[in-house]
């Protein structure tokens, strides 16, 4: 083994390998460049950012941690810390629901026998083909017309649950269909004897699901959790369209509001603020990725092969 490793090391200096290294690293750094720019820009004070002539690598004259501080603990005149908090709450809530629902539904479709199982599953899978963005307007109407929160007439309109925490609470506990599919595939590979042995030892369904089967699925659950977390963290649609009040905004929705979208033409865009918020979205996402990169790469590879 060590001999192969040594030879491998020598191989690294062959022309073909060197070109491989140069291309992968070079293009990789170009791909990272916008993020490097973002982080460097984060050290600017707001006045310096707007007054300097930006170059390829923006190096501030007086680097400041003010933007980072604003993100994490907030300052007197900004709501950034609140957006950050809302983002975190929403992400954690949706991720927990995704784990629970996709595992339970995956268990049902992989292990239980009942009438119409295949049909229900196929219908669920088929709905995946319908583009998600298309439900934005009807969901808005639904949230606006239906008097979940009381007092709104379904026929003449109203605000329903728009602009309240209900938007986020109801947005979570749906069925994560891709997750269900992955859990089902992976559970079907676990031998039935394990269930049998557990039941023989006196485990009820509840214990069987959570103490025996769930721990066996941790890698796939990690993949579902990370993709859901990243998806929710980066999502601007739900908060942007269904809420208006400031204390419900998340980081992406706040950026959407501050940037040109919805602003009057010719208005000056507050780039320093946008950079701060962008870092607030990007850096946690990168940390999640760094810690769980193994599962993302594995999971992507798996879903790819199965097609």
């Amino acid at each position: 083994m060590s001999a192969t490793r040594k030879e491998n090391f020598k191989n690294q200096f062959k022309p073909a390998y060197l070109i491989g290294h140069i291309l992968l690293l070079g293009i990789g750094l170009i791909l990272l460049y916008p993020l490097i720019f973002m982080v460097l820009a984060g050290f600017f004070t707001k006045t310096e950012f707007t007054s300097t002539v930006l170059s390829i690598f923006p190096i501030p004259k007086q680097p400041t941690l003010e933007n980072f501080k604003e993100l994490i603990i907030g300052t007197a005149d900004s709501s950034v810390a609140m957006y950050f908090r809302n983002s975190v709450i929403r992400t954690v809530y949706n991720t927990l629901w995704a784990i629970l629902t996709s595992f339970l539904a995956g268990y049902v479709f992989a292990r239980l026998k009942f009438k119409g199982r295949e049909a229900i599953f196929l219908i669920l899978l088929a709905t995946q083909m319908i583009p998600g963005t298309l439900a934005i307007i009807p969901t808005y109407l639904e949230f606006a017309r239906f008097p979940f929160a009381g007092g709104n007439n379904p026929f003449t309109g109203g605000t329903g649950i728009l602009n309240s925490w209900w938007v986020y609470l109801i947005g979570g506990p749906s069925i994560n269909i891709m997750g269900t599919f992955l859990v089902k595939q992976s559970l079907e590979k676990v031998p039935l004897e394990i269930d049998e042995a557990a039941v023989m030892d006196g485990a009820g369904t509840f214990r069987l699901i959570f103490q025996i089967l769930f721990p066996l699925q941790l890698p796939i659950m990690a993949f579902i959790a990370i993709t859901t977390a990243l998806g929710t963290w980066n999502d601007f649609i739900t908060p942007f369209f269904y809420t208006t009040s400031d204390n419900l905004q998340t980081l992406p929705a706040a950026i959407t509001r501050i940037s040109s979208v919805g602003a009057s033409p010719g208005a000056v865009i507050d780039y320093p603020m946008i950079i701060t918020l962008s870092m607030g979205i990007t850096i946690p996402a990168l940390l999640i990725f760094a810690f769980f990169q193994k599962y993302i790469v594995q999971g992507l590879a798996n879903t790819g092969i199965k097609g």
């Binding site: 930006l54 583009p131 963005t133 506990p173 023989m200 601007f236 780039y271 992507l300």
Partner: protein, 332 residues
């Protein structure tokens, strides 16, 4: 619960536990989930499709049932047909560049290089960032007054470009952004495909005297066919629905000439409150995606059958020969 029954002889586990109990557990788990799913996803989707058959402008107005008028309008009005056509070719272009570049990268990543885990990660990183956030960095580059690119142009003594007023540049940056975000993910999926190609086929090909190019041509490419159908169609479906980058980079401008269909739906719904038209466009978009997906399933099952035939005889040859040849990963 039914302990006595469980301790008795053990025919089939499932038969013993019985369909009734299974159905009960399934119902307890699935029914609440389905109700929620119907409320948050099923109903709005159907509602959206139904909207296409109504004329409904503004939330306070009352909807008018108008049969297929919205759909007829869709194909008569160049605003919509242009947006649809742009969605298709822009999606095709983005898919093509992303997949081609991703394939090249995956060939490199498949070499036994040191630190390839690191390379894989840095290539994939753009995919985990939020479109909302990273398009803003692109916008700082493109700012007409103090943008980075214009600063460089000025320093070189050239005229700065007002990117926002040019259709060509708008499309160009949308494509650049989409490729930037997508290429790492494409490379990873191609890589998974490359690694699923049977290693002994490369040995066999080497024995037959195949060089690097011939191995790629006769072993790698046929072996990738199943995954190619998967990635081409899923990427295409994704790329046809691009709209966030359009929203944040050009906002559809100048004069709506970079609008794509999903952007148009968003605009109809939230700017013009033309809800009927938004519903009709949604239905057309969904039909296109569904047709593409069905074509994919048919095509991929067919191509699976096709690829297995030429591979088999080669495989037998490989087993006969001694494998003292290095495989694709450089191992013995």
């Amino acid at each position: 619960m039914e302990k006595t029954a469980e301790r008795e002889g053990r025919p089939s586990f499932n038969r013993r536990r019985g369909r009734h109990k299974d159905a009960l557990i399934a119902a307890v788990i699935l029914v609440p989930m389905f109700l929620f799913w119907l409320v948050v996803s099923g109903f709005p989707t159907l509602f959206g499709f139904a909207l296409g058959f109504f004329e409904w402008v503004g939330l306070a107005d009352t909807p008018n049932f108008i049969w297929f008028d919205n759909f007829i309008d869709f194909f008569k009005n160049p605003v919509y047909t242009d947006a649809l056509w742009r969605s298709i070719w822009l999606g095709g272009l983005v898919t093509f560049i992303t997949l081609a570049a991703g394939f090249g990268a995956s060939l490199l990543m498949n070499m036994p290089l040191f630190g390839k885990g690191f390379y894989r990660s840095i290539w994939y990183i753009p995919a985990v960032t939020a479109t909302v956030a990273t398009t803003q960095v692109f916008n700082i580059f493109l700012d007409s007054n103090n943008g980075v690119i214009n600063n460089i142009l000025k320093a070189m003594g050239k005229e700065p470009i007002v990117w926002q007023y040019s259709v060509g540049w708008g499309i160009f940056w949308i494509v650049v952004y989409s490729v930037w975000k997508g290429v790492g993910g494409a490379a990873l999926i191609w890589l998974a495909g490359l690694q699923s190609v049977d290693v002994s086929l490369y040995e066999a090909a080497e024995i037959d005297g195949a060089g690097r190019f011939n191995k790629l041509r006769y072993v790698t490419l046929p072996g990738l066919k199943p995954i190619a159908t998967y990635i081409v169609i899923t990427s295409l479906i994704g790329a046809i629905q691009i709209y966030e980058q359009v929203l944040f980079i050009t906002n559809g401008g100048p004069y709506g000439q970079t609008e794509v269909l999903v952007f148009r739906i968003y605009r109809d719904g939230f700017w013009d409150f033309n809800l009927g038209m938004a519903g009709a466009s949604s239905l057309i978009m969904a039909l296109i995606v569904i047709v593409a997906t069905v074509l994919y399933y048919n095509w991929s099952t067919k191509s699976d059958k096709r690829t297995t035939i030429p591979i088999k005889p080669v495989k037998r040859k490989g087993k006969r020969g001694e494998s003292h040849v290095r495989n694709a990963k450089g191992e013995l």
